[in-house]
């Protein structure tokens, strides 16, 4: 089909012909077209179906407020539902399909639903579908769900990449229409840092859609010149295709820049960039949105907003119809008639609801003052409209103008409420704007061009001097003030037919009246009950007329009735853009231990621990499954020596004259008298008395300690220590710095650990006398490398930990393995570590889960009675100390061959399994290769006095129930002889 509606003029490049497909049919348009303008140029009026009644839908607007013309763009994994054809820039090869119909767009089988509409009024579904009960999920809801929704996702991973970034400026100007350009010129010339953002791909706003004159030039030319000047200023950043979609606290804005949506392929470039703009000041120049008038069957394709019709004619060189009728309640609508007539488009009639003198006369056009359109006809597009006086007018395009609503959206993102301005019958920005925001132009209710230009200029100059700059000396751009009279006329009461308010969600005037009748009278109730304004356009064109009708029903004024709340985003933002690069493996950064490379080369499997990747076990050739590897690692460690990278434990260097005092206040146990060269286990409570972390602290010097924390809590402990240091005890001289990343630390455990350590440290006496259990030293290893050595044990074996600077960590692992070769040293991972600590009865993350007390954990002996410490007072509360409290004990299966399950609950034998009889839970389990059976740690009421009792470990969720015996948690070497060696 040829471009039958293409006329002369516009900002399209006729030398570039673009081919595109709509529902498989090939069409042509030009560079500079939107999909909507190209469809109109080709005479394609029907472009979609409405949500509920599957009514035919055409293009209604020429901007982002479009409720109707939603299409599915592109194909395959690039398929993009609900794209507004009015903002989709045409490119060669564009593919689009219409949405929400079964069968073809022309013959939608679901269109029959429209005949049922009497039974499908607002909220009908709340009153039915309740019987029989089981039918909701099985029958009714699947049907409703299937018929709801518009476009489809491809169900495949989004193949595009997205990025984010940060921008800063003195003034953010939102909107590059006349007011925005005028403001940008003033600000830019003054030298302040300006960002000028606009959602359109051609800047200039309505200047490109109208036939205005600015400074004696055609408006579009003036805009182009202004933009050229702005582009030449180094302090101005012009961002086209960029929507400022959210105004957040303190001058932070969300901005979406569309980089490749207008191209056939993104070719690896980010499709869109989410910018977080921080602006000292902002100037909102977002313009205004035209609203329709509701009348019978006002939803047919070919019925459009009058301003949009001008846009198609003036900017795109497209006449949306051959016989255009204008229905208006204001002066502005008349310009549609005059502009079109000038381009040679035939105007059938001008119907003005006001009983005033005609603004102008047009040859051939019938002028009906005080007129109303009550109905229209035409199955897939308007063919005639009927006036209240019964007159029928043949027309293929009805241009409707109900006046203009300032685009106050962003002014309300921080709960500001707009105010009613009755002379323009519209809401304008209220008093509570986001901090440091000013509003100019039609967005501020200044509906004429001259005022818009002047306000942009003035506000920008004021802002510039607020910021301490001097405004450049130039005057505001000048234009005439066009006629802009308007009357508050919202719907044609004489219409007997359904009159649409929300075109996408099929909400009609009757629905609003029904909501009123049923008591849903607050605007929020109205919205929620009827779904008005909840479609993809968020009711940009629908809300004001609807609430005016509700105001009429309730007898209140429009400002008393109020608006619903405007919330981000201004226009919808793809989730992919909001996520940026943070997806897949890049969702969060990794932390790698210094021996990661060695581990990878030696068969390690890795496990995520927070952001760390830790070696879980090291598989050797021939091993069948992970248990084989773990059993071997445990056995070889217990029999000789094993090496484990424990770098991930938090390490905090603590220095200061009062460091000992500080530690004494944050640990439950005494720290004042720890000698230099010794390590002590320490337990920390939250102030509420619950245990939350433990570790060891070594005293390296008089005023120098190094603390270890658990891997998981490293950051939290540091934060809480800083809180204690700065907020609770600011009089102490103590300083904290994390050295977690600086030191590669290795545990060397097993009966041969001393021999191995002796081989690598430089000349330190490692005898039990010289370097006993819980000793520490700063020393050197491998001939002069700085190191820290600790004799501490998590496995229960004689054990050491050696730390060397992180860069040497990978090499250190090799060195330790080499030095340990003659002892058959084994590298072990977190699984073996876990097995050994369970065998030894040490609590770890599963036990220190933030719900257990020191008493529960069997660590009551570490709670000093002689001093205060964080958590002391509240740890003494009755419910935390009573007889019946949970205690950490060991468990073994009565039938030794059975595996225990972590997460099982304990029920006394013979008791019914229910919440009341729940006595505790199994926190950690392991297969102990040392004992040859499964062992567990867990909490059970009064566990410490129930040794030997058999209870049921209840776990229907996993593994089933088994009988277990309560035993000491210290399965191995309860006296601790091995570690003291």
């Amino acid at each position: 089909m040829s471009q039958i509606n293409r006329i002369k003029g516009g900002l399209i490049d006729r030398s570039q012909k673009l081919e595109f497909r709509f529902n498989g049919r090939v069409f042509h348009g030009h560079q500079g077209d939107t999909l909507a303008s190209a469809l109109l140029a080709n005479g394609q009026r029907l472009v979609g179906r409405s949500f509920k009644y599957h009514r035919p839908r055409g293009i209604f607007t020429a901007g982002s407020e479009e409720p109707n013309a939603l299409v599915q763009l592109r194909s395959g994994a690039f398929q993009e539902p609900n794209t507004r054809a009015t903002v989709a820039q045409l490119f060669d090869g564009l593919e689009a399909t219409s949405q929400n119909h079964i069968g073809s767009l022309d013959f939608d089988l679901m269109a029959a639903v429209d005949l049922m509409s009497p039974f499908l009024s607002a909220g009908f579904y709340y009153k039915t579908f309740m019987w029989p009960k089981a039918f909701w999920e099985k029958l009714y809801e699947p049907i409703i769900r299937k018929s709801a929704g518009l476009g489809s996702l491809s169900m495949r991973e989004d193949p595009d990449v997205y990025d984010k970034g940060f921008l800063h400026c003195d003034i953010l100007i939102i909107g590059a229409g006349p007011a925005g350009l005028s403001a940008a010129l003033s600000a830019g010339r003054a030298g302040v840092r300006v960002i000028l953002a606009d959602e359109d791909f051609v800047l200039g706003g309505r200047l490109n859609s109208e036939t205005f004159v600015v400074d004696g030039q055609p408006g579009g030319d003036w805009a182009a010149r202004a933009l050229a000047e702005l582009a030449s200023l180094p302090n101005v950043r012009i961002m086209a295709r960029t929507t400022i979609w959210g105004a957040y606290d303190h001058g932070v804005f969300g901005a979406l820049e569309r980089r490749t949506d207008h191209l056939a392929q993104s070719a690896g470039h980010p499709r869109q960039i989410l910018w977080r703009v921080t602006a000292k000041r902002s100037i909102l120049a977002a313009g205004s949105i035209e609203r329709p008038i509701a009348f019978g069957n006002n939803d047919r394709p070919g019925i459009m907003l009058a301003g949009a019709v001008r846009t198609y004619v003036n900017r795109f060189g497209v006449a949306p119809g051959k016989q255009v009728t204008v229905f208006t309640n204001n002066d502005d609508g008349w310009r549609t008639a005059t502009d079109l007539a000038q381009k040679g488009v035939r105007i059938s009639a001008i119907v003005d609801s006001r009983d005033i003198a005609p603004l102008t006369s047009l040859p051939d056009a019938e002028i009906v003052m005080g007129g109303r359109v009550v109905d229209t006809a035409g199955r897939k597009g308007i063919s005639t409209c009927t006036l209240a006086n019964g007159q029928k007018i043949k027309t293929d395009c009805l241009a409707v103008s109900g006046g203009w609503s300032p685009n106050v959206h962003l002014t309300c993102h921080q709960r500001g409420r707009p105010e009613w301005q009755s002379d323009i019958a519209a809401f304008v920005p209220g008093q509570n704007l986001p901090a440091n925001m000013a509003v100019v132009g039609t967005a501020n209710g200044l509906l004429t061009l001259g005022e818009a230009l002047r306000s942009g200029h003035q506000i920008a100059e004021g802002t510039v001097s607020d910021l301490g700059f001097t405004a450049a000396r130039h005057s505001a751009p000048v234009a005439d003030n066009e006629a802009s009279g308007v009357s508050a006329f919202w719907y044609v009461g004489e219409s007997r037919k359904r009159a649409w308010l929300d075109f996408q969600n099929d909400v009609t005037v009757k629905d609003v009246k029904l909501a009123y009748a049923e008591g849903f009278r607050s605007v929020e109730h109205l919205k929620r009950y009827t779904t008005l304004g909840m479609a993809t356009d968020q009711g940009k064109t629908a809300n004001i007329p609807a609430l005016a009708i509700m105001a009429e029903c309730t007898g209140k004024t429009i400002p008393e009735t109020g608006t619903t709340i405007f919330r981000p985003p201004y226009t919808p933002v793809p989730i992919g853009a909001l996520a940026g690069r943070s997806r897949g493996k890049d969702f969060r950064p990794y932390r790698l231990t210094p021996s990661h490379k060695w581990a990878k080369q030696n068969g390690a499997s890795f496990v995520e621990v927070g952001n760390w990747l830790r070696a879980q076990w090291y598989a050797r050739a021939g091993e069948k499954g992970w248990r084989n590897s773990v059993d071997r690692e445990v056995t070889m460690t217990r029999n000789s020596v094993g090496i484990c990278d424990v770098t991930t434990l938090g390490k905090i260097d603590i220095q200061g004259r009062d460091a000992a005092q500080f530690l004494n206040r944050v640990y439950t146990n005494a720290f004042l008298k720890l000698p230099v060269g010794r390590v002590r286990y320490g337990l920390m409570l939250r102030e509420d008395g619950i245990a939350y972390d433990d570790g060891t602290t070594a005293r390296l010097g008089e005023n120098h300690y190094v603390m270890t924390t658990t891997t998981a809590n490293a950051g939290l402990v540091f934060q809480r220590l800083e809180f204690a240091r700065q907020c609770l005890f600011p009089g102490l001289d103590v300083h904290l710095i994390s050295v977690t990343d600086g030191w590669a630390q290795f545990a060397i455990a097993g009966p041969n650990s001393r021999k191995l350590v002796q081989k690598v440290v430089d000349g330190l006496d490692m005898s039990n006398e010289a370097f006993p259990f819980m000793a520490c030293a700063e020393t050197t290893v491998f001939g002069g490398t700085k190191a820290r050595l600790f004799r501490i044990s998590f496995s229960g074996e004689m054990a050491y930990e050696i730390a060397v600077p992180a860069r040497l960590g990978n090499s250190m692992m090799q060195g330790l393995m080499e030095a340990g070769a003659k002892f058959d040293a084994v590298a072990y991972g977190t699984e073996a570590l876990g097995v050994m600590r369970i065998e030894k009865g040490h609590a770890a993350g599963n036990e220190l889960n933030g719900q257990t007390t020191a008493l529960d954990l069997g660590l009551g002996g570490f709670m000093s009675k002689k001093k205060d410490y964080i958590g002391k007072t509240l740890s003494e509360r009755a419910e935390l100390t009573h007889e019946d409290a949970m205690r950490l004990v060991g468990f073994r299966p009565v039938e030794r061959s059975k595996p225990l399950v972590a997460g099982a609950h304990f029920i006394a034998q013979g008791q019914e399994a229910n919440t009341e009889n729940d006595e505790g839970w199994m926190s950690s389990v392991a297969f102990s290769p040392t004992l040859g059976h499964s062992i567990g740690l867990g909490f059970i009421r009064r566990g410490h006095v129930r040794m030997g009792e058999v209870v049921t470990a209840y776990s229907p969720a996993r593994g089933g129930n088994i009988a277990v015996e309560i035993v000491s948690p210290h399965f191995i070497d309860p006296e601790g002889g091995r570690q003291r060696g």
């Binding site: 957040y248 606290d249 303190h250 001058g251 932070v252 921080t278 921080q414 901090a435 102030e687 509420d688 950051g715 540091f718 934060q719 800083e722 809180f723 700065q726 907020c727 609770l728 005890f729 600011p730 009089g731 205060d868 002391k872 007072t873 509240l874 003494e876 509360r877």
Partner: protein
């Protein structure tokens, strides 16, 4: 949100973590006869005002300072930011 750090200037609140009411600085005297009640009220009860609120923020992705920020909980307007340490010293916590 932007927090105007008293030492480092305006920083995005995303660099900070939040703790709560700045009264958490006023840890009670554990030796007081009513220490149990004192700690209960200190740790658990909050004014939770709708309006001006002094609160503790920690510059985790920055200099690790604890700040006392005076912020309106209705408007989010920040009127004052101090180092928590200075506040604590002023309250005599160095004694």
């Amino acid at each position: 949100m932007i927090i105007d750090h008293p030492l480092l200037g305006p920083r995005d609140a995303a660099e900070f973590t939040y703790l709560g009411d700045a009264t958490l600085i006023n840890r009670p005297d554990p030796a007081a006869p009513d220490a149990a009640d004192g700690f209960y009220e200190y740790l658990y009860l909050r004014d939770n005002p709708a309006g001006e609120h002094n609160e503790l923020w920690y510059h985790e992705q920055g200099d690790r300072a604890w700040l006392v920020v005076s912020r309106n909980t209705l408007t989010h307007e920040i009127t004052k930011v101090e180092l928590a340490r200075d506040v604590a010293l002023r309250l005599g916590r160095d004694r």
